[in-house]
């Protein structure tokens, strides 16, 4: 192989690497698929089914040593709320707020609603 080819090849690889995404910050699991199913195939994404998926995802995320994504705990809390599990709902909203203080205004609003 001529040196110029190797140089060009390495150059292209570096450029490609520069454009490619690195490994994920979060453990995603079913979150986005469940959101899709909720609207498009609701039978596949009842609140019970989503809670099951997300509780399992939470454990898998812990196993993988990655955080769950922004909104995950808030979404889970909302599902608990729909199922009447208010203590769990509150805990999820508080976790979302602790993990992501950007959510505080909305999470406080939801927690207040629980105390209603």
């Amino acid at each position: 192989m001529k040196p110029t080819w190797i140089v060009a090849g390495v150059g292209a690889a570096v450029l490609l690497g520069g454009c490619a995404s690195s490994s994920n910050l979060y453990y995603w699991g079913h979150y986005e698929q469940d959101v899709y199913d909720m609207y498009i195939v609701p039978d596949k994404a009842t609140a019970e089914k989503q809670v099951e998926d997300m509780e399992a995802d939470f454990e898998r995320a812990r196993g993988a040593g990655k955080p769950v994504p922004p909104g995950f705990q808030a979404h889970l809390g909302y599902l608990y709320f729909q199922l009447g599990k208010f203590d769990l709902a509150r805990r999820s909203f508080e976790t979302e707020k602790a993990n992501f203080p950007e959510s505080a205004v909305l999470m406080d609003r939801f927690i207040q609603k629980l105390e209603g």
């Binding site: 060009a8 995404s21 910050l25 959101v35 922004p70 808030a74 505080a104 205004v105």
Partner: protein
């Protein structure tokens, strides 16, 4: 030969090159983004939620806090805003008081779905987006993307193509291929270096890009 390689390298470069002007973005870099359900200008009723359900991952992986898209949608519906159109009309000061995001991402889906020809099909997702600073109302960033994926996997022979086309139609109508393409479109729109958003505060590379 060498010229061909130079050309290939140039093509790769151009994929990442000609960066946009990030002055407005850098003046008010957001930490948190509220994504409202996209307006649907396409003919497919699945478009709004096909796109909304694939937008969180690229945004969050860029380092932003993304409000829970479905919870926001439900919350707004419960509060008298039945459609994306009504949600897009809510004044920024009201959004600020109730949800308190740094920025709102307003999107529109202009095309969504699979078009069938006799020998082939193509799945198209075309989007526009505007990221607006909640406090000032300034436009921080805008972009558009047009992703087309051919359903023809390159099988040769007319009969093969006809059979494949028929199979593709069955598969596509029972799944929603545009949903997968929507994920690609959102990623291209938001993540492409020099065109998409700059890294947000949760990304290790926050503050290293978009320098002028």
């Amino acid at each position: 030969m060498q010229r061909a390689f130079a050309f290939a390298v140039l093509a790769l470069l151009s994929g990442c090159a000609t960066p946009r002007d990030y002055t407005a973005f850098r003046a008010r870099p957001p930490r948190s983004v509220l994504v409202l359900p996209p307006l649907n200008q396409s003919l497919d009723i699945k478009a709004t939620y096909g796109v909304l359900s694939t937008v969180t991952k690229p945004l969050a992986e860029m380092g932003y806090y993304v409000f829970p898209v479905a919870v926001i949608d439900q919350f707004m519906k419960e509060n008298g805003l039945p459609t994306a159109y009504e949600m897009h009309q809510v004044p920024l000061d009201k959004i600020d008081a109730i949800i308190h995001p740094d920025a709102v991402l307003y999107m529109s889906v202009d095309e969504y779905g699979t078009k069938y020809a006799i020998l082939d099909s193509s799945t198209i997702v075309r989007l526009q987006a505007r990221l607006v600073d909640v406090e000032s109302g300034d436009l921080l960033w805008d972009g558009h993307v047009d992703v087309r994926v051919s359903g023809n996997s390159g099988q040769s022979g007319l009969l093969g193509a006809v059979i494949e086309s028929a199979i593709n139609q069955v598969v596509a109508s029972s799944t929603d291929k545009a949903h997968e393409v929507a994920a690609q479109a959102n990623t291209q729109l938001l993540v492409r270096p020099g065109q998409g958003l700059l890294y947000g505060p949760y990304h290790p590379k926050f503050g290293t890009d978009g320098q002028k």
